[in-house]
Amino acid sequence: MKCRFGNLFAVSLFVCGAAHAQFVVDQVDAIQSDEDIRVQVDLDLNLTDATERALSHGVPLIVVHEIALNQRGWLWSRIEQRTSVRYRLRYHVLSGRYLVDSNEAVLNTFRSVSDALEFIDSTSVTFDVSARHADHSVAVRSRIDINALPAPLRPTALFSPQWQLSSDWSQWPINELSTN
């Protein structure tokens, strides 16, 4: 796994996700200015057979990217800001296309699920900050929201490893030397 830094910021990789996970945080870029921090997240998303089968059977999947801006404290980090981006991926049987809508309520259509996932696997968020801080870090996690599944599916999803698509939390510290 490659951990790349922006040309102005240096981001150190601590945890780049588990190798066997279906959802993996691939890379995080951060651009820090005096007012905000813009975070670009790239993930590697792959569905399991069960989830793909569910998708083809009309079960919409909610993919949630959780991104948190943490500030390192004396003993442990404190979550300063937190946001999430939700993508709703479903299959349109009449058109045979995969549809993705997100928080922005824009519907995107794709011929294949891989195209749809390729659309989902990168996102960017902006955190408003009052000043530059050297002790900031970005934590990223991506998962399928099991609570959004139809009720009968939830117990199965709860106990089945095929549905355990959540990535681990990845910490990406931001080097203070970075300047805009």
């Binding site: 089968r53 009309g58 079960v59 049987v93 058109s95 809508d101 309520a105 824009v106 599916l153 117990p155």
Partner: protein, 748 residues
């Protein structure tokens, strides 16, 4: 003990009840969560975990209860078997219906869910979908045909204004939302848009373009937000030469709203149905999991309730069983707690009343027993210290009890004769045959009271017993029995006889001795006065008569003096005496030249001195040696042996003197009467008072004297025992007092 109490509280009813309520509540919530669309999976997980935990806790409770029951069953605690049996019954009664319900429910669920997916419904949905697709395909085909027609109109048109005008015309004719003419490499040549002001046209992606470049036609339905659907169409516009290559006409056409809504409806219904089909197994799994957890929790609750109810129900019975066992073991003070006012409570109360009454009765019986025992002990103490022998016989004529005096009087251990009949005792011990024959005869005659005098010849010689028998009723509740009391009156009779003889002797001495002197004096006066005056022929007769009178009177005086000595108590002067020396002094008088070896001495050297009256003891020795000498007068080799021994027996010290001879001895019949006055074996020679005087003197010295036949020599053996030291006088006094007490008891 404290730990056990804590465990009992933990597995008691209140924690279990609280747990049951929690489990039931969580079960209800779990069922609700399984059906609630909005319920989060975390809450479902928590509820599921809570229920599983509750089941495990219930299992632990049940296990604890069963373990305790198993321990009680192994320890054979009363009621444990019944409790186990009842629990088993309850568990069966609960589990069998629950299992049936569970099986039926799972089948019902499975079949019910399966029934949702009827083949006809499935086909209808697919048909609707197919219909929708077909309709859309028609729309798509029409749209692509229309656009292909428009593309043919654009062939050769190069002028930009003409192109725009034509594109607008085509867009309006085809009711397109947007129309683009793209170069072969995808560059926009001209565009026409329905919505004015849209700055960036919706350019097709490279995949669309490459498909069209290959000569194909592209059309696809693209859902938009808000249920609106649009068709993306791309067709080639053929070029007219190398300098005018082919171009691409790309259009976007909104599906008519009516079709869009219908298609959306079909899409939604189809999606929902496919979701249901896909969720069939998970739904079954979810519902059966919930049902299983509910059934398990209900089963555990029911089993625990069965255990609790069984224990609770059987608790009074267990208490009753323990109480019964305690009563059987003799504990009548056991009180059982009354559990309730129902039938069991009445039963326990009755049990308590019963034990209370038994306890009272037992206490009363014990008091009576103690009283009886006290009286028996008192009676035994009296009997033990009674000088009379007491025998008791049961109704079968068997010897039941005897007191110490029996053993003492008869000198026989009656322990071996217990439970034997009087007849059997007669056969076992022939010397007591006269006594027990009399007893047997009296018992057989069933006399209420009877008296008899029985003479037996036992080890002590002739014994005269006065026997009294009394019939008593209810000895050990087994009919009549007999109590026989007897006294040994041998010595009493002897003492009475001695006393009588002494009285006779005293009277004889007194009545006869007084006239003897006047008779003698009168005879001498007659002789002196008339001997010379009578005729010579009568003188000789007178002389013989008066001489005879004088001689007989003298002889009578000697006899009367002997009586007097026997009858009158003499003054005794006790002093320390060397018996061996006294024996030698007395025996010396009987040794003569004619018989130098008549007497043989076997005197123990160093014999301790005794306290005795030398004069009286000399008379004893004199009488005995004289008797022996007289008894051996006709023997060819007369022999008298005198022997002394010092003996210690039972802390008593005494000397034993034995004088034996080889004379004519005495018969067995004479043996018991030889010490009586006027009993003699010497024909006319003796007065018959010698041995009587010997016996009296020896008894005055606290000693004993008896005669035996010499087994080997064939003569008689006289044996005297005399106490050693100062105790002799005291012993004599004690003996006298004992004799007096005995006489008074016997006569009283």
């Amino acid at each position: 003990m404290a730990n056990q109490r804590i465990i009992d509280k933990l597995i008691g009813p209140i924690p279990a009840l609280i747990l049951s309520l929690v489990v039931v509540a969580s079960l209800l919530m779990l069922i609700a969560a399984a059906q609630d669309v909005d319920a989060s999976v975390e809450s479902y997980l928590v509820l599921l975990g809570l229920n599983v935990l509750g089941i495990f806790v219930l299992l632990a409770l049940i296990g604890g209860n069963l373990w305790r029951l198993r321990r009680q069953w192994r320890g054979k605690v009363l009621g444990s078997r019944l409790t186990l049996r009842m629990i088993g019954l309850f568990v069966l009664l609960v589990l069998i219906p629950l299992s049936v319900v569970y099986y039926v429910s799972t089948q019902f669920l499975s079949k019910g869910i399966d029934s949702w997916f009827d083949v006809r419904v499935d086909r209808a949905v697919n048909d609707a979908l197919l219909l929708g697709k077909t309709s859309l395909e028609t729309i798509k085909r029409d749209a692509v045909d229309d656009l292909s027609g428009a593309a043919s109109r654009l062939i050769g048109v190069e002028n930009e204004l003409s192109l725009i005008t034509l594109l607008d015309e085509v867009r309006e004719d085809g009711d397109l939302a947007e129309l683009l003419l793209l170069s072969h490499d995808g560059r926009i040549i001209a565009s026409s848009q329905k919505v004015a002001g849209k700055l960036i046209p919706d350019r097709p992606n490279e995949r669309v373009l490459s498909e069209v470049r290959g000569g194909g036609r592209y059309v696809n339905l693209e859902p938009l937000a808000g249920g609106v659907q649009q068709l993306r169409i791309a067709v080639p516009v053929l070029g007219t030469g190398i300098s005018r290559p082919s171009r691409i006409l790309h259009g976007l056409k909104l599906v008519p709203l009516r079709y869009s809504r219908l298609a959306e409806s079909i899409e939604n219904a189809s999606a929902r149905y496919r979701q249901m089909v896909f969720s069939r197994r998970p739904l079954k799994f979810s519902l059966i999991l919930t049902l299983t957890v509910v059934t398990l929790a209900a089963s555990m609750l029911a089993v625990w309730a069965a255990i609790y109810v069984s224990r609770r129900m059987l608790s009074p019975l267990r208490d009753l069983a323990e109480g019964t066992r305690a009563v059987a073991a003799g504990d009548y003070r056991k009180k059982l707690p009354v559990p309730s006012s129902d039938e069991l409570g009445v039963l326990v109360e009755s049990f308590n009343n019963m034990t209370r009454q038994i306890h009272r009765a037992q206490t009363s019986v014990k008091q009576h027993q103690q009283e009886t025992e006290r009286q028996r002990t008192y009676l035994e103490a009296i009997l033990a210290h009674l000088s009379s022998g007491v025998l008791s016989f049961d109704y079968k004529n068997r010897l039941l009890t005897y007191n110490a005096a029996v053993t003492q009087i008869l000198d026989y251990d009656f322990k071996l004769l217990r439970k034997q009949t009087a007849e059997e005792i007669s056969g076992s011990v022939p010397k007591f045959e006269p006594l027990f024959r009399g007893i047997r005869d009296s018992i057989e005659r069933d006399e209420a009271e009877w008296n008899a005098e029985v003479t037996i010849f036992a080890d002590r010689g002739r014994q005269v017993l006065i026997v009294r028998g009394t019939r008593i009723s209810s000895i050990k509740n087994s009919g009549s029995g007999y109590v026989v009391v007897f006294d040994d009156v041998t010595e009493l009779i002897q003492a009475q006889r001695d006393a009588a003889w002494r009285e006779v002797a005293r009277r004889l001495a007194h009545e006869i001795k007084n006239p003897l002197t006047p008779i003698q004096l009168s005879a001498e006066r007659i002789r002196a006065k008339y001997l010379n005056g009578v005729a010579p022929e009568d003188r000789d007769a007178l002389d013989r008569a008066t001489r005879t009178i004088a001689q007989q009177v003298e002889s009578m005086k000697v006899m009367v003096n002997a009586f007097s000595n026997y009858a009158q108590p003499s003054e005794q002067k006790f002093e320390s005496l060397a018996l061996n020396q006294l024996i030698r002094d007395v025996a010396e008088l009987f040794v003569s030249e004619a018989q130098p070896s008549l007497i043989h001495f076997d005197l123990e050297p160093g014999l301790p001195s005794i306290t005795a009256d030398p004069g009286r003891l000399r008379q004893v020795l004199n009488n005995l040696i004289l008797n022996a000498k007289d008894a051996t007068s006709d023997v060819e080799k007369p022999e008298i042996k005198i022997r002394t021994r010092y003996i210690e027996e039972n802390k008593h010290c005494y000397v034993e003197l034995t004088i034996s001879d080889n004379g004519y001895g005495f018969t067995e019949e004479d043996q018991s009467r030889l010490f009586e006055p006027y009993v003699t074996t010497k024909d006319e020679k003796g007065t018959g008072l010698g041995l009587a005087v010997v016996k009296r003197i020896v008894e005055e010295h606290g000693g004993l004297v008896w005669l035996d036949s010499a087994v080997q020599a064939g003569g008689a053996v006289a044996t005297i025992t005399l106490p050693v030291g100062e105790s002799a006088v005291n012993t004599d006094l004690k003996l006298r007092r004992a004799q007096q007490r005995f006489l008074s008891e016997s006569t009283g």
